[in-house]
Symmetry: C2
Subunit: 232 residues, 2 copies
């Protein structure tokens, strides 16, 4: 009997690593895809390769798309990544680290890869609770993209039940970390920081760092993140 | 009063050139976007620049995405482009020149660019009649992507009425050519062939060439295409 297969978007961060552990437990042979979109935190691409290897992906690929050519985000243009104090509230406004239509682009690439492989299952790490307010992390967005996937592909037209799995969609960051720990994820090899130091150490103060840090605290799990300087 | 603006996907081919002429006539200031996706017919990128200049785009950009990393199509992998006889029927099966999820990727990039610019109108040249059987050229696909655009962007969440205009959707190739001629398009500067000769001349026998050739014939318009060898 052939193993079921999935294409999984792997950023190298905490969320997608947890997704990979989840998908492996669900019995999926995982083809992981990392997207080099010109992000300033390119160290996450190396983390993605390590996560793919450690958590047993069948194959790991990278695809490059130059979102810098479009600009509009602190992650891809010459705009400073905002820093926060530990107790700042996040998620009310959409921050400048939002990359215009990023998840639409990422899912489109994953969809193309899945179609090439003849795979009907996609896995992505969107979550709608601790999501920094990005619109393309919401369940209604994911469901809408699923319709696009079914209508816009040869596989969908031929009847494949294309499905986007988002196992983290209803979890907060602490819940994601608890899930990952229960599945044996070593978060020390993941990278979340949007503005790492030249040695790859996390800044500890961008929105990604803040969400991650609060998540470990709330989960009651020691934070294994390597920070660039003493934690603020 | 500010001019209304649109982001327009411009491939350098006959369809998107006609779209640009249409959008100009509709009063849109057009930001054209060509996507270098590793297509073997890269000569179309030069054609796109020329079309943008000639038809009065405000700005023309290119964004690179390496769809070759995903494979799966005669346009991006080492698979031969099929050739047809002039009277072969097209459009019953999805041909190998279909690029997995290409239009989803292209629309996602156009959406990101539109969001960066603060533009709510996208224009794309899909047409559902002479469309080679590609699933991502159908109106239901375009409508589904419009929902994704509204749900997956900051602009959409904030209430922008994001809209994808597909002025060619109900036209056959002859109708598109008649529309373009009426708007003053010089089709000699457009490029459609999937498998051009090294000097950029069209092969005359791929599905794109065949559709184009039949279109000029049906429209009763002399075919200005520069072919690589005597027409079959």
């Amino acid at each position: 009997m052939s193993e079921k297969r999935a294409v999984l978007l792997l950023s190298g961060g905490l969320d997608s690593a947890t997704c990979l552990a989840w998908a492996r437990q669900e019995g999926f042979a995982c083809h992981t895809l990392a997207v080099d979109y010109g992000q300033r935190h390119r160290v996450e691409l190396a983390a993605a390769r390590e996560v793919a290897r450690t958590l047993g992906a069948v194959e790991h690929r990278e695809v490059a798309v130059d979102l810098r050519a479009l600009g509009g985000s602190a992650l891809t243009a010459d705009i400073a990544v905002p820093k926060y104090r530990p107790d700042d509230a996040l998620g009310r406004d959409i921050p400048i680290t939002y990359v215009p239509a990023r998840n639409t682009v990422l899912l489109a690439l994953a969809l193309g890869y899945a179609e090439t492989l003849g795979v009907a299952d996609l896995v992505a790490g969107m979550n709608a609770l601790d999501y920094s307010g990005y619109p393309d992390c919401r369940p209604e967005f994911v469901r809408a993209f699923e319709v696009v996937a079914r209508l816009g592909t040869k596989a969908g037209v031929e009847g494949a039940a294309l499905r986007i799995h988002t196992p983290l969609i209803a979890l907060d960051k602490a819940g994601i970390i608890r899930l990952g720990i229960s599945l044996g994820v070593d978060y020390a090899i993941t990278h979340s920081c949007y503005d790492p130091a030249s040695d790859g150490g996390a800044c500890g103060a961008c929105d990604a760092c803040l969400l991650r840090k609060k998540g470990f605290h709330a989960a009651g799990v020691p934070d294994p993140t390597r920070y660039a300087s003493p934690q603020p």
